[in-house]
């Protein structure tokens, strides 16, 4: 049996999870929540992570009922992400690895999402839609790489939603995306917004600029409600995402879709993707907020795959990087 502990803190979530041969033993997490109208900045986020990381580590071990001696390998997020939070978490991972005398493995955050999704859903070789605050990619596996077929050519879909939430002061608790989703359910009127798809790529910056400029005018003139805007924004950006996923499936001849990343737990997105799949006889795999949103277990799971293939990260190589493409990683654990 191989037990891996994973440390994740590339954005505003700090999570530590323990995985034993495909079984998630524990996966506690904390989120740094900012006041409405504000995003999270690297320095403050890192400070938050420093404040809670040892408590979270204690929870992860206690919940799993394990002692450090039971751990075989310490995995941490090498990137991509925000520099300061990444450094904070890597430092703790490096320290405990030395204290416990265990090998380290540096994990690509995006690969963590994909491997967690595959583990939880049992999807075999899906086309992956990875959607979060920092990433929007359509990915398919071939020849030892997760290859990026489509992606955003400017900002990520989650970033577009978060910044819209800031414009109309929607609460960041538990997350702006969750609150937009709830408000969208009460939206009645569909407001036309820019729709930008370029082949298998998408662009969200035009939609954001448009809605940033128009939102207050439309709200103050009573033309529509905040709920209508949430509804229309979701319908528009999710349609774009489903469209590029379908295009990548048609291009690759794939019959499976897996949605991962924080935006992936949005039920309306899952519903739309499900209808698309039904229309082409394909199968949809999705997970809930425990595994969609950044967490420690996903880093542990990807680390577990790498460690089993004999990959370890030497102490001198245990740095972090803000830039780390999904297709840079050689996937040694798949055929």
């Amino acid at each position: 049996m191989t037990v891996v502990i994973g440390f994740e803190g590339s954005a505003n979530k700090i999570g530590i999870g323990i995985v034993r041969d495909g079984e998630v033993l524990s996966n506690p997490r904390r989120t740094y929540i900012t006041p409405p109208g504000q995003g999270f900045l690297p320095r403050e986020t890192a400070k938050h992570h420093r404040g809670v990381i040892l408590t979270v580590l204690r929870e992860a071990l206690d919940e799993a009922g394990l002692k450090p001696a039971d751990i075989d390998c310490v995995a941490y997020t090498k990137g991509p992400g925000m520099g300061a939070p990444l450094v904070t978490v890597a430092l703790v991972a490096r320290t405990v690895a030395q204290l416990w005398g265990k090998p380290l493995v540096g994990v690509n955050h995006c690969i963590g999402h994909i491997e967690m999704g595959r583990l939880i859903t049992g999807a075999n070789n899906p086309t992956v839609l990875y959607v979060s605050g920092g990433n929007t990619q359509v990915i398919a596996y071939s020849e030892r790489r997760y290859r990026i077929f489509g992606e955003t050519i400017d900002i990520a879909v989650g970033n577009c939603l978060d910044r819209f939430a800031r414009v109309i002061k929607i609460s960041n608790d538990p997350s702006p995306g969750y609150n937009i989703e709830q408000m969208a359910k009460k939206g009645k009127q569909y407001i036309e917004l820019p729709y930008t798809v370029k082949g298998m790529d998408v662009s969200f910056s035009g939609i954001l600029s448009y809605i940033e400029e128009m939102a207050h005018k439309m709200l103050s003139s009573g033309q529509c409600t905040a709920e209508d805007l949430c509804f229309s924004l979701q319908e528009t950006v999710f349609s774009m995402l489903v469209e590029i996923t379908e295009r990548a499936m048609a291009h690759c001849g794939s019959q499976e879709v897996l949605i991962v990343g924080g935006v992936g737990c949005n039920l309306r997105l899952q519903e739309m993707m499900g209808i698309m799949c039904e229309e082409r006889g394909a199968h949809l795999f999705a997970t809930d907020e425990r595994f969609c949103i950044d967490n420690g277990a996903m880093i542990a799971q990807a680390g577990w795959e790498m460690f089993r293939m004999g990959q370890v990260t030497e102490l001198s190589d245990s740095w972090i990087t803000q830039r780390y493409r999904t297709d840079e990683v050689e996937v040694t654990w798949r055929d």
Binding site: S10, N135, I148, K198, E235, V242, E271
Partner: protein
């Protein structure tokens, strides 16, 4: 047509009831039928139930019209694309010439790689793609969905291998180097992710594109810019 909230009884146009469904692409269902004595392809943009019906109707209508317009514009300029026989705007169906015995460039490259042919043996094809795209961009047609699946090769008895462009649903007309640069960027990503280890092939394509069009330097400059833009290179979160 285009029922509001996914009413299951979708109205299939009468002429498609007996037609042979060849495949379901991302945009449309493709059927084979006889049209005025000719073998033809019907591309039916059926309502997408996952989309809000207002958005769906707008996109479908726009893309059907745009596909036909761009094919005509290309064909007038001497760029090979299927002939448009007929358009049924009430059902968003386009009747196109059937390109018999053709294969996609994607299949061609995959077959060449599988049979162990060198990448160099495909240089000729890459150059041809570059020339055709340069000509298309000189006509200010932006394809919008360039992939190796959307280019057909039709082997002829003479040994020629003409390249046809298809699937103009996302196309539009623009003279901006920016739009042309993004068009090439979309192709580059699709090309390299679909066909691993073909970087030199895409370089050849760009070289021949540059040689074939006077406007190419500005487009290539934009392409370099787009590659570096935004968060594409550094993904956070």
């Amino acid at each position: 047509m285009a029922e509001a909230d996914g009413v299951s009884a979708r109205s299939v146009p009468p002429y498609l009831r007996e037609a042979e469904l060849i495949k379901q692409g991302a945009e449309a269902r493709v059927y084979r039928i006889r049209f005025l004595g000719k073998s033809a392809i019907v591309k039916e943009r059926f309502p997408k139930r996952y989309r809000h019906h207002v958005l769906d109707e707008k996109l479908t209508r726009r893309r059907t019209a745009q596909e036909v317009r761009s094919i005509l514009r290309c064909r007038k300029a001497g760029i090979a694309a299927p002939v448009v026989y007929f358009v049924d705007l009430s059902t968003n169906c386009i009747f196109l010439e059937e390109i018999a015995d053709s294969i996609t460039v994607r299949e061609h490259i995959a077959a060449a790689q599988a049979s162990g042919q060198s990448v160099e043996s495909l240089h000729h094809l890459a150059e041809k793609m570059g020339r055709v795209l340069a000509k298309m961009h000189d006509e200010d047609v932006i394809h919008g969905d360039l992939t190796t699946s959307n280019m057909l090769l039709k082997p002829e008895r003479s040994g020629d291998l003409p390249l046809l462009l298809i699937d103009f649903g996302l196309s539009f007309v623009s003279a901006l180097a920016e739009d042309k640069g993004v068009d090439l960027y979309v192709l580059e990503k699709a090309f390299l992710s679909t066909h691993p280890n073909t970087e030199t092939l895409f370089q050849k394509l760009l070289q021949s594109y540059t040689a074939a069009s006077k406007k190419a330097p500005a487009v290539i400059k934009k392409l370099d810019e787009v590659r570096l833009r935004g968060r594409k290179r550094s993904m956070v979160g």
